[in-house]
């Protein structure tokens, strides 16, 4: 496949040679609106100071500044874009981002039938089981592909995508792995079932990664392929989505260099009528880590994304014990119920009341010794065999959420939440632990009351009271927050997280914040203490060190 590498090298050379010329051309004629149809972009700038604070284990560090600006020029069917990023004195986990430069650039042509991108691009096939690349600066994730992507839309609702390129690893895209992928999304109603009221969509994807075998111990596959089939059927009240993926042998550091094939199944169904909504999902993942380099770790060079199938929490204490997707093996369910208790009933009162119950659990998958092998998961073997329908011995996570939302009158609205979370940190090992302690199975009960009070037009306040009770880990937490909002521009808030019953010492994490919004610009200023823990988005997490200092953040679109 040397010609592929040569082709990509040529593409890169063209971009580097002519990209800036093209940008200068666009900028030069920017003032002339006949040449440039549109120019827009967005930026984010962050600055954080770090004071030493022994009470929370915060170290003194040089101030951390980071930011990015996306600039996009459009001219009829052509678009050019780039993102400049900088990271000064990055915090742990972001060290390899240190520096500044153009991290993302592309040229795009788009008309009614084609969408062609040369340069850096993001893509997602279905829910991402075999391909999803995205940018999340908060998590330090940018696994964009540098290469060529062609999308073709037919008139009969068939969408075809083909792409080839190398993934970005921090600032570098010169890693060994090369990705090639095709995808087809088809609306079957327009093609076959024109008279059906049920909308049926089907998708089929195939992704390969090419990486040379330079391992002296093992005979490694240089081309690893994965395919994904999915079908979505949605009627008036019911919808069902089935998503299945399969990956051939892909020994890697994630799976301990075993040769077992991987597979994944996610089924989600929805039922909704007026006042009632039900969502049910099941998920089974077996050996589905997929990266463009075998030895990549943490958030580096992930080709695919495993959706978590657990409730995504936003309250401070509810985010302490999150679930992190386990690509090596997990199996679980989620049930979500929304019910609106009607108005003018005993419980509903004048305005009615919303009830949301969410239950999710996740287990390990069953693993047994493979024929003629002596250990489970031994490197350089098939690894294990697994019964598709059997749960493993370990419960990894379970969460029950009961949430009530009640409008009392025109000024007051109450939100009450109870959460029971069981997090098997003995296995997940995602939580920071105290010295001389071990990872535990954590069982916590969380109570949250949020009060929204509209004082007068444009003046509103929010009060949050939260409590987490557990005998494990760092013990109990209490949290109080008062926020005052002067619409449409200002807000102020003060909060305190109090960790008590901690085996070492009780600690307050107080902070005050203020912010100013105008149009699509937002400036926030915070001073206070932040606990060490995990920052998670969609089942993907990174560790955040404890800190004490000021943080300033500016986001803007133009």
């Amino acid at each position: 496949m040397n010609y592929m590498k040569k082709f990509l090298k040529l593409v890169n050379n063209i971009i580097y040679k002519y990209y800036f010329s093209f940008l200068i051309f666009l900028i030069t004629f920017n003032a002339n609106s006949q040449i440039i149809d549109d120019f827009d972009g967005n930026l984010q700038l962050n600055h954080q100071t770090f004071n030493e604070d022994e009470s929370i284990g915060a170290e003194k560090r040089e101030p951390y500044s980071n930011g990015y600006i996306n600039l996009i020029w459009k001219n009829n069917k052509f678009t050019a874009g780039q993102r400049l990023e900088f990271y000064k004195n990055p915090i742990p986990g972001f060290e390899e981002y240190a520096g500044q430069g153009i991290s993302h650039r592309f040229l795009q042509f788009r008309d009614n039938n084609f969408d062609i991108i040369i340069g850096d691009f993001y893509e997602e096939f279905g829910s991402g089981l075999i391909l999803k690349t995205y940018f999340d600066p908060g998590l330090g994730i940018d696994n964009s592909i540098d290469g060529l992507k062609i999308k073709y839309f037919t008139n009969s609702n068939i969408y075809l995508t083909g792409l080839i390129g190398k993934q970005k690893s921090f600032w570098d895209n010169q890693n060994d792995g090369m990705i090639r992928a095709i995808n087809a999304d088809v609306n079957l109603n327009n093609l076959l079932f024109k008279k059906w009221s049920t909308n049926i969509n089907m998708g089929l994807s195939f992704v390969t990664k090419k990486e040379s075998d330079n391992n002296p111990l093992y005979i490694l596959p240089e081309n690893v392929g994965a395919w994904n089939g999915r079908i979505n059927m949605s009627g008036r009240k019911i919808s069902v989505n089935i998503d299945y993926a399969y990956k051939i042998n892909d020994p890697s550091s994630d799976n301990g260099y075993i040769y077992k094939n991987g597979n994944a199944l996610i089924i989600e169904s929805n039922y909704s009528v007026k006042g009632l909504g039900l969502v049910m999902g099941i998920k089974r993942i077996d050996n589905m880590s997929f990266r463009s380099e075998r030895n990549a770790i943490l958030q580096d060079l992930n080709i695919n994304y495993i959706t978590p199938l657990t409730k995504q929490q936003s309250y401070s204490l509810a985010t302490i014990y999150p679930y992190i997707s386990q690509p090596n093996g997990e199996m679980g369910t989620q049930l979500d119920v929304y019910y609106k208790i009607p108005k003018k009933t005993r419980l509903g009162g004048k305005y009615g009341m919303n009830l949301n119950i969410n239950y999710s659990n996740m287990y390990s998958i069953e693993k047994s010794i493979y024929v003629d092998e002596s250990l489970i998961g031994e490197s350089g073997t098939m690894g294990y065999s697994s019964n598709f329908f059997s749960l493993g011995n370990d419960k990894l996570f379970q969460e029950l959420n009961i949430e009530l939302t009640k409008k009392i009158n025109k000024k007051i609205k109450l939100l009450g939440t109870y959460i029971n979370v069981q997090n098997n940190d003995q296995i997940l090992k995602s939580q920071p632990i105290l010295s001389n302690s071990n990872h535990e199975y954590i069982n916590a009960n969380i109570f949250i009351l949020e009060i929204l009070y509209k004082i007068k037009p444009k003046h509103a306040t929010k009060i949050e009271l939260q409590h987490l009770r557990t005998k494990e880990h760092f013990g109990n937490w209490a949290m109080g927050l008062i926020e005052y909002k002067l619409s449409p521009h200002w807000f102020w808030s003060i909060q305190d997280l109090y960790n008590y019953g901690n085996p070492e010492k009780d600690t307050h994490y107080y902070s005050i914040s203020t912010g100013f919004n105008k149009k699509s610009n937002r400036l926030t200023l915070t001073y206070g203490k932040q606990r060490a823990g995990l920052f998670c988005v969609g089942g993907v997490c990174r560790e955040v060190p404890a800190s004490n200092g000021i943080s300033i953040s500016l986001t803007s679109s133009f």
């Binding site: 496949m1 002296p216 690893v224 770790i297």
Partner: protein, 292 residues
Amino acid sequence: MKRIYLILILCYSCDKIDPPYTQNTTQLSEKTVLIEKFTGHKCSNCPDASRKIDELSEFYGENLISIAIHPGDLPEFTGTDDNYTYNFTTNSSDIIANDMGANFLPLGTINRIEGGISNRCWTKEEWATQIDDLLYDPNGEPLSKNIDIEIFNSFNEKNKTLTIQTNFTLNTSLEGNHKLCVLIIEDGIIAPQVDGSDYIEDYEHNHIYRCSVNGEYGEEISKFLLPGVPSSGDFVGQFMYSAEHLTEINTTNNINWTSDWANISNCFVVAYIYNTKTLVIEHTEKHPIIND
């Protein structure tokens, strides 16, 4: 139809590997590689690294010498408590762990070559490739060693003193200054270890760094040049350098070497020579303290 062809071409380009999955053992190299594995008894992933060392040792035989270091500055992995009472840390190995960049576990240096994930530390998946590159040329031919080292040990059971004589010769003229470092490691220590989610009470810890004999970074080799021998030239069959060190197997050198301790038959002397500027280790030898 063209689309179907395209899918078939892509499918055909997948490599399905049939067992056996391992490469054939290559011919033995003359050189040796030292791997310093940074580990901890509370590190759940560290036994995987030990298994990787075993696998590599089986593949490379005597060409691979390993040392296990428990960095004291990572107490969450190496600290002691009621469940993990054995203290594997030493001051000299802590210095090495810090200098090499062992800020999480498990990691390992490979002849202390630069690169890897943290300063000179490599993840276990990278070890094999780095070791292979140090033992064989790009054509797979074994590389010849540029230093010969021989170790002679004399242990006095009564007063627990150990005399170590290290003789060595530079087979080629090496650039820069070099140091000789001598240390003692111990196998067969039975103590608790977490392995994945399991607590193994009687885990066998091997290759444990116990103490340095001549300082954690050793001594200049020039001080061991035998009288009348020039520092370069052709000295086939004759050692150019000879170092003698005396140490004691007692609690001053390692807190676990108490009067009750009786594991000398599982102890080894390791001697290596490295470039003081690049810190890269040129050659390593290992020899048991008794059973000479």
